[in-house]
Amino acid sequence: MISPVKIWRNQKKIRLLLSLTGHILSFTKVHVPPAGFESQAPYAVAIVKLSNKKNYTAQLVEFEKKHLSVGQKVKTVLRRTREAGEEQVIPYGIKFKPID
């Protein structure tokens, strides 16, 4: 499902999304994960309006309970996204981190 070439292709887009700020439009805490995310559950997912005017969906990390709210300011960071597949290539992607 996630071949090394697909990871390589998608990772070229990531740098354009680094170090952007934004605010949470909606959020949820996922308690029942899909395959590949079992070790991370429960984890928070948010839709964020970024400073480049676009919305983006990603996990929220390094947060406290008070940060799980609509309007919370966040910035984009680079993190491992899921378990590596059979080829052992580690997939990295964008996540959000709260800022005050």
């Binding site: 909606s26 996922v30 029942v32 899909p34 395959a35 948010a46 969906t57 990603a58 609509v70």
Partner: protein
């Protein structure tokens, strides 16, 4: 437009471990042919609604697969549009018949989900979302939880109000022997069930289900004696962005609004003319949003209306008499076809204990992904 429904049938929905997809289709086609009073030789084309047979079962090419099973060599195709696959297959059947290329066609929706581990099914269903959503680990409950949170923020919708959708649909399912969960649940049971993706709890979510449903569509009128005659008088589809982040608004589904407006226009009716509706309550919040998208209640007012029982048997319009996806079950490719069967039975007056007295016009609302595809059908008694 007018396409006659000659017959409809569904299998029992549930965890059907002793039944294969072949058996499900064989059973349901036998029933639908008998309901329509025709032989299989009269079927001129087959449209199969299914989402996951390739991903989960390793079997694609379902048109030929089921044609072989039925002993037919007529044109046969699979239609896929995530959880709207069944509704899209009905739409394809309507187009086929109204083009006059085929007179009589079989539409069958089928899904076999419970053979597989829940994590695998959750991952497979995520094929209906965007790559960014998959990378975030946003399951389908998570995507609808994001819609729910947006609706709560905008309109003050509460978790209690969402729970009332499950309570109502379980009550309706308790009157439906084909339902996966043919029993009522209490408000407390829903609110105390474990969290899946906050604010959605287990009993806010539709289950993983096996099942099949079928209809026979025709440009020929139903045979004499099969009164009343039921017709599809509108069939409309709309498409929105695949991912939620690309949407302008998160407290509604634009595709459902567009498709329903097109359908009302096609049928020459308005929302208040609908007596009975089957809507895509994959999660409780989805039924609240559907009521607003379909124009049954103004935006922000549906949750309280459902709580007050306005869409329960005895109210108007009555919504999800089958128990909906929530309690009747959600075999994804079969759901859109099952909705047509339920409304067909309601208009025919053969819906049993869950019959809406005097129902004349009904609607089905079938959604794919988190709202990227919406299919609306309107059915009327002749």
């Amino acid at each position: 437009m007018k396409t006659a429904i000659l017959g409809g049938a569904t299998t029992k929905f549930g965890e059907l471990w002793d039944v294969s997809p072949r058996d499900l289709v064989k059973q349901v086609v036998k029933q639908v042919l008998s309901d329509a009073g025709i032989g299989k030789a009269q079927i001129q084309a087959i449209f199969v609604g299914n989402m996951l047979s390739g991903t989960l079962g390793g079997q694609d090419h379902l048109g030929a697969f089921f044609a072989e099973e039925l002993g037919l060599t007529v044109p046969a195709v699979k239609i896929e549009g995530a959880c709207a696959s069944g509704g899209l297959a009905v739409h394809a059947g309507v187009l086929a018949v109204s083009s006059n290329i085929y007179q009589t066609v079989l539409v069958v929706g089928v899904e076999k989900m419970t053979d597989h581990k829940p994590e695998e099914v959750a991952k497979a269903l995520m094929g209906a979302g965007s790559d960014v959503e998959r990378e975030a680990g946003a399951t389908f409950p998570a995507l609808y939880a994001l819609l729910a949170r947006a609706h709560m923020e905008k309109y003050g919708t509460t978790e209690d109000e969402m729970a009332y959708v499950a309570v109502k649909n379980h009550y309706h399912a308790s009157l439906n022997s084909h339902a996966q969960f043919p029993y009522p649940v209490s408000l407390e049971q829903v609110l105390k069930s474990p969290v899946i993706a906050s604010p959605l709890k287990l009993l806010d979510c539709s289950p993983i289900t096996d099942g099949a449903a079928a209809v026979i569509l025709s440009s020929l009128p139903a045979k004499q004696g099969s009164n009343p005659k039921i017709n599809i008088i509108a069939s409309a589809i709309a498409t929105d962005t695949l991912g939620l982040a690309e949407r302008e608004e998160l407290a509604l589904l634009k595709a459902a609004r567009q498709a329903s407006q097109k359908a009302y226009q096609m049928a020459g009716i308005s929302p208040k003319d609908i007596d009975v509706a089957e809507v895509h309550d994959c999660f409780t919040i989805a039924e609240i949003i559907a009521m607003e998208d379909l124009g049954f209640f103004p935006s922000g007012k549906a949750a309280n209306a459902i709580k007050m029982g306005k869409t329960k048997l005895g109210g108007h319009p009555v919504v999800n008499t089958s128990g909906g996806l929530k309690a009747s079950g959600h075999p994804v490719g079969a759901t859109g076809v099952k909705q047509i069967v339920e409304i067909h039975n309601q208009l025919k007056g053969i819906a049993g204990k869950k019959q809406v007295p005097g129902a004349r016009i009904g609607l089905t609302h079938n959604v794919g992904g988190s709202g990227a595809t919406a299919v609306i059908h309107i059915l009327a008694k002749e």
